[in-house]
């Protein structure tokens, strides 16, 4: 098809956009933020909350605009989602709220969230082109919602990646040169590690949907269909499930009944591989130090893959700005921007062990990276692979549950094809119902 000649009319949208941007910038500039107080609902507790509150206090005392942020622990992610849904109905919401992408999409069905695009692009209050290049693009892309015309409904304070945890000493003893790069190597390592007499095995199965997604993208697939909705009958999905079914049936993988039981088995030298979030590294480290086997060398690696380079599942909740007054919205954005500056990011990494969202944060983390080689190892992998994230569709949490259930059935011997076909139908029904 030939490209249509644009003519002068093609300039109209560009001029309108430029005018809107300029108008937006002027509007922001006129706002008086002095004395503006915004409430921030978060899920962090204990050490993370203490550190976050200290950062909030510092923002409150040092920001040039006279903004005050009030941070409140509001429960876990699910509790916060319940509160938000009730709050949106009752007109009682915070100004900033932590939200996974599917939760943000749910809130936006009621038009409750602010599209941050004009704030990000604002010449005075936004993010400059140079700063923008400093962000991991894959992290920022997660908060763009095609379902809502490409609106940006959140800003990331941090991210995590799904990785394979491996017992390096054990792998070496098995004669492996390093962590497996292909799924065939993964199978061979699991087989070699399994010894019924000693009670050891290869892989502690994570039924979590994030782990399933990580496996699918490691084979070049996706679960979001290009035309919208889900696709669970692709070859990468079928191959992933068939592989796990075989690994489990052959006795080289086990399901874990107890929460964090995979960490316990890993620390006690019973399992060679687990699959989990990078944010669990301090807990693994702690468990290994205290494990029955005594401390051993372990590491994290990208999942085995059939793609030329690893494709990593990046996830993490962002912070969304809830619609309120222009002053509160701008104040909320300025706090988010401040939190994503390298100095604050470095501070947050040290307490949370999450990945920072800006590359230059590494400059302020030299000593931390030296002291935490596993974090450094995983952080370095961010630059070597590409990142992909799970769908940001409304109702994705329900699909995740269905996905875990289907995976469980497959491990228990259900036929892969029909089970995935049924999952595909169910997921797409949920997709339609939640739009």
């Amino acid at each position: 098809m030939k490209p249509r000649p644009r003519g002068k009319l093609g300039l109209v949208p560009i001029l309108l956009l430029a005018f809107a941007t300029a108008a937006g910038a002027q509007a922001f500039d006129k706002l008086d933020l002095k004395g503006t107080t915004v409430t921030y609902w978060y899920q962090h507790n204990r050490a993370r909350e203490t550190a976050l509150q200290a950062m909030i206090t510092r923002f409150n005392t040092t920001n040039a605009w006279g903004i005050t942020v009030k941070g409140e622990y509001a429960g876990g992610y699910a509790d916060i989602a319940n509160k938000m849904i009730a709050g949106i109905a009752g007109g009682s919401t915070p100004d900033l709220v932590v939200a996974y992408q599917n939760n943000a999409a749910t809130y936006q069905l009621s038009g409750a969230l602010v599209d941050l695009t004009p704030y990000v692009n604002d010449p005075k209050f936004g993010v400059s082109a140079a700063e923008r290049r400093d962000y991991f693009e894959g992290f920022l892309a997660q908060d763009l919602y095609p379902q809502f015309g490409g609106a940006r409904l959140g800003w990331p304070p941090n991210r995590s990646v799904e990785v394979v945890y491996y017992n390096a000493d054990w792998l070496k003893a098995l004669g492996a040169a390093g962590p497996p790069k292909t799924w065939d190597e993964f199978y061979a390592d699991c087989k070699a590690a399994t010894d019924a007499a000693k009670g050891t095995y290869g892989y502690a199965v994570s039924l979590d949907a994030s782990s399933v997604f990580a496996q699918v993208i490691s084979r070049g697939g996706d679960i979001a269909a290009s035309q919208g909705g889900y696709t669970f009958t692709t070859k990468p999905m079928t191959d992933s499930m068939s592989f796990m079914q075989k690994l489990f049936k052959d006795g080289y993988a086990r399901k874990i009944g107890e929460q964090y039981g995979d960490q316990t088995d890993f620390a006690n030298g019973k399992v060679l591989f687990t699959m989990s979030s990078t944010s669990g590294m301090p807990f693994y480290d702690d468990a290994v130090q205290k494990g029955a086997k005594g401390a051993f060398k372990w590491g994290v690696a990208a999942l085995p893959h059939t793609t030329p380079e690893p494709v990593q599942n990046v996830y993490g909740a962002s912070v969304s700005v809830v619609k309120s007054t222009p002053e509160k919205q701008l104040a909320s954005w300025l706090f988010l921007r401040w939190m994503s500056e390298p100095a604050q990011q470095a501070e947050w990494v040290r307490v949370s062990n999450y990945f920072p969202v800006r590359k230059s944060t590494a400059d302020a983390l030299g000593d931390y990276l030296a002291k935490n080689p596993h974090f450094a190892e995983a952080f370095a992998q961010l630059s070597s692979g590409t990142q992909k994230s799970e769908p940001s569709f409304t109702g994705y949490d329900l699909v995740r549950d269905a996905e875990s259930a289907a995976f469980n059935q497959i491990l228990d011997g259900a036929a892969v094809g029909p089970t995935l076909a049924a999952l595909d139908v169910k997921a797409n029904r949920l997709y339609r119902q939640n739009r």
Partner: protein, 276 residues
């Protein structure tokens, strides 16, 4: 005799099975976090089940660092205020359903019982809207007033009040008692067993509530113990001993309340086959 002995052995075994999770809770509350990784056994007869050296400091850590004292106080106040309301409203409503004649009584009672079948999640938003309209968000009223009337409590008390002989009430009326006087002087003094049961069940419900307090309390002013416990759960790993120590601290008051009301609860269960 053998039959009775077998029954006791069976009951003792069942009681033991029921107690094991609580022993597990207590033993893990006293372990180091390392021991929860290296010394793990579901068998109470295994040394691995128990800590090598009990870590009593876990309780102090939870109590001190996690504001458990404040949460506990909030829970006690919320439970007692709610309980007072429940007892007053349930006794009066149950008396009316059991002893008074008024049009639509049976239909109204059926409607009341039907509310037992509506899950809390369904009423969350309407309840929230009402509480907000009343200006109770972040206030004690939000976590107490909505629970001051309970269909189950009314049902339970009504069943008991129906057993009280009408003649007894009539005599009181002849002596000049009003309905309120009858309730106060005759009905309540005869009903300690069901009242204790209602009190215990109600306190337990208040004590365990998590979703509603989180929704209506957006600041930490009145947050109860259940929220304090939830704060001990982290996203990607678990500090088991502290979670378990927190759970033990949360259970103790309810356990004491049960001991205090045990006799009456058993009596109620025996008399009315109470199950919840």
């Amino acid at each position: 005799m053998i039959k009775k002995g077998t029954r006791y052995v069976f009951l003792a075994l069942a009681a033991f099975v029921a107690v094991v999770p609580f022993l597990y809770l207590a033993s893990n509350a006293l372990k180091t976090s390392g021991e929860t990784v290296t010394r793990v056994s579901p068998n109470p007869f295994s040394p691995e089940f128990w800590p090598q050296v009990p870590q009593w400091s876990n309780f102090a850590t939870v109590w001190g660092a996690d504001q458990f004292g404040a949460y506990l106080l909030h829970s006690v106040i919320i439970s007692l205020v709610t309980l007072a309301g429940v007892l007053v409203s349930s006794v009066l409503a149950a008396y009316a359903f059991a002893k008074l004649k008024f049009p639509g009584k049976e239909g109204l009672f059926a409607l009341l019982l039907a509310t037992l079948m509506v899950p809390e999640t369904v009423t969350l938003i309407p309840d929230f809207l009402i509480v907000k309209a009343l200006g109770w968000i972040n206030r004690l009223e939000a976590v107490t007033v909505p629970f001051m009337a309970g269909a189950f409590s009314i049902f339970l008390l009504r069943q008991f009040f129906r057993q009280i002989p009408r003649d007894l009430l009539d005599m009181a009326k002849i002596d000049g008692c009003s309905h309120l006087g009858v309730v106060r002087r005759i009905v309540v003094p005869l009903s300690w067993a069901p009242l204790a049961t209602v009190a215990f069940l109600d306190v337990t419900n208040s004590w365990n509530a998590l979703q509603w307090p989180l929704v209506v309390l957006q600041t930490s002013d009145w947050r109860p113990l259940s929220v304090g416990l939830a704060r001990l759960i982290s996203e990607t790993g678990s500090d088991v001993p502290l979670r378990m120590a927190g759970a033990v601290l949360a259970i103790v008051p309810i356990f004491l309340a049960y001991l205090a009301a045990q006799k009456h609860i058993t009596e109620s269960i025996t008399a009315y086959g109470l199950k919840q």
